[in-house]
């Protein structure tokens, strides 16, 4: 629209509001359903859960009933500092999800970028077929994929069978609670940690156990997450790559930069915004992992696939400890907010993008 067109409309608006009398009412009527539903099922619930996390509500009747007491930080204290079973469970679930995030986020991002670069080669014919193949796992539901994964990684499943072709005896995946770092150390004869690490603990879990790594069972979930999300993120990277003109790359080629240098120095910096999006989405998704655990293992073996999201659900719905469950979910919320902000800070600073 040109300025000339726009000007009279603005002037008209200032002069006679009356010509658009119905607009205010219409605006509210049009947005009302969204406001009511989001308010009722997103805003009110969060406030209500915040209250429950500070209360001793037992799950009977309404949490807003007069008999329900305010116990301040009681629930938070019990799961964070008291050192009992609740604290230990939280510690274990944080250990598990921490390793999950640490491995899934970088690996899925790297794989997605790798796939995108491969598929994006301009000369490549049949690129649609490859793109479809890599993206397809992303459309299926987490439940269906988990069911498939339980089969693939069963004791006599596909993965172990393929491993046996090259002479490797595969583990008993979803029944193996050993941490992979501990397994790696035991190869060198280290079977127990130094007293300094086994003696002291954080959230009821000793330092030695924090460093156990994801269990073999959790590793299967890690592989699954990478498998299902890399396709989605690949699409984001492909879109970004297509927006980058070939000029800079060609200039780099003239200057004698090799393929890796061109990628590292020319392509990657231009992908920074997309990289930020992918890392953020990856982080948010990983911290909340729930569906897979609910469908597949319910936290087994030996609580090593227990995640905070599942723990929160279990504390509330199975153990009727609603306050604790709500408190866990808010702790998780704060962690997600913290990491999103931290990452924004780091990526923005380094890039020098204003």
């Amino acid at each position: 629209m040109t300025l000339a067109e726009r000007a009279p409309r603005r002037a008209g608006k200032r002069r006679t509001r009356g010509s658009r009398r119905g607009e205010g009412t219409a605006g509210w009527l049009f947005t009302l359903p969204v406001v009511v539903i989001l308010g009722l099922f997103l805003l009110v619930p969060v406030l209500m859960a915040l209250w429950v996390s500070f209360s001793d509500w037992s799950g009977r009747g309404s949490p807003l009933a007069p008999g329900v007491g305010f116990i301040g930080l009681g629930n938070y204290g019990e799961i964070l500092t008291e050192g009992g079973l609740a604290t230990r469970n939280l510690g274990i679930s944080m250990r598990n999800v921490g390793w999950y995030v640490l491995l899934v986020v970088p690996l899925q991002t790297a794989l997605a970028l790798f796939l995108a670069v491969l598929v994006n080669r301009a000369i490549l014919r049949g690129r649609g077929v490859f793109r479809t193949a890599f993206y397809f796992p992303s459309v299926t539901s987490s439940v269906a994929i988990t069911v498939l994964w339980l089969f693939l990684f069963s004791t006599t499943g596909v993965v172990n069978e393929v491993l046996s072709w090259v002479g490797i005896g595969g583990p008993n995946w979803f029944n193996d609670p050993r941490g992979i770092v501990h397994i790696g150390l035991s190869v060198f004869g280290v079977d127990s940690g130094p007293a300094t690490m086994t003696g002291s603990d954080v959230l009821g879990v000793s330092w030695w156990d924090w460093l156990a790594g994801p269990s073999v069972g959790m590793s299967a979930f890690i592989l699954m997450a990478i498998f299902t999300t890399s396709g989605t993120f690949m699409l984001l990277f492909i879109a970004a790559l297509q927006n980058i003109g070939p000029e800079l790359g060609e200039a780099g080629m003239m200057d004698g930069a090799n393929a890796w240098q061109r990628f590292r120095r020319i392509t990657l910096p231009q992908l920074r915004p997309t990289l930020f999006t992918v890392l953020t989405l990856g982080l948010i998704g990983c911290w909340q992992v729930f569906d897979q655990i609910y469908t597949g293992t319910q936290g087994a073996p030996g609580k090593t696939t227990m995640t905070p999201a599942y723990l929160s659900y279990q504390a509330a719905f199975a153990d009727q400890k609603w306050g604790q469950g709500a408190a866990i979910s808010f702790i998780l919320f704060l962690i997600i907010v913290f990491f999103t902000l931290l990452q924004r800070l780091l990526l923005r600073e380094k890039g020098g993008r204003s």
């Binding site: 049009f30 619930p45 793109r131 319910q298």
Partner: protein, 277 residues
Amino acid sequence: MRRARWLAPAGLYALLAALAVIYVFPFLVQVSTSFKTDAEAAGNAVSLLPQTFTVAAYERLFLHSDFPLWFANSAIVTIAVTLGRVFFDSLAGYALARLRFRGRGLVFALIVGVMAVPTVVLLIPKFLVLNQLGIYNSYAGMILPLLVDAAGVFIMKNFFESIPTAVEEQARIDGAGTFRVFWSIVLPMARPALITIIILSFQGSWNELSHFIVATQSPELTTLTKGVASLASGQLSQGTQYPIKLAAAALMTIPVAVLFFIFQRRIMNRSEGAVKE
């Protein structure tokens, strides 16, 4: 130089093909295993051709389990949610993009704000509110909370802001009311964005699990995700029974797979708009 140029694509294709096999093979195994006997599924997991071809798993699912009921429930919820989102998201998106009204900034802030709330925080509170409202364990409780989504409103708002206002202005001058303008002029122009909403909400509600876990209890209201998850953890069956589980997982993938192949081109490109911001 020439040799390198010829070699590079061959290597590239080999690498891509190998990766594609890794990505596709699990789904082929899934389908073939669903036609195997229990013993064969456990004994010979890798082979893609069943030695004894049987449809016993499908027979069991369709004739002797609640699977058809789960499917129907998922279909009801998905259709209702998709229709609701198409209508309400575009209505709100249009108002936020075009109509000037007091409190518009506030409404927009609410929508952006709730987009930032991670779903896992909502598990317990959603149950509390549904319970309080008396719609726990009902279709209303399953559908209503999903009926609009902030991201959809956002997409529609962005779309409406990108199309020229001239046609609407003309219709207004001709005396059409705000809803008339929206319904018969603006909405038909919004087809590309609406298809995006349809894809996202169909896939989202068909694959939704956690909301149905906290919103329902009775077997009559079980959806596919919840039902198949219960199959996975071994209800309804003794032993491993992989063919039944994998058949159920394969069947529940079909609708989203069909949607995916119909709108493939659009899905593959939708991310473009999202990243350009």
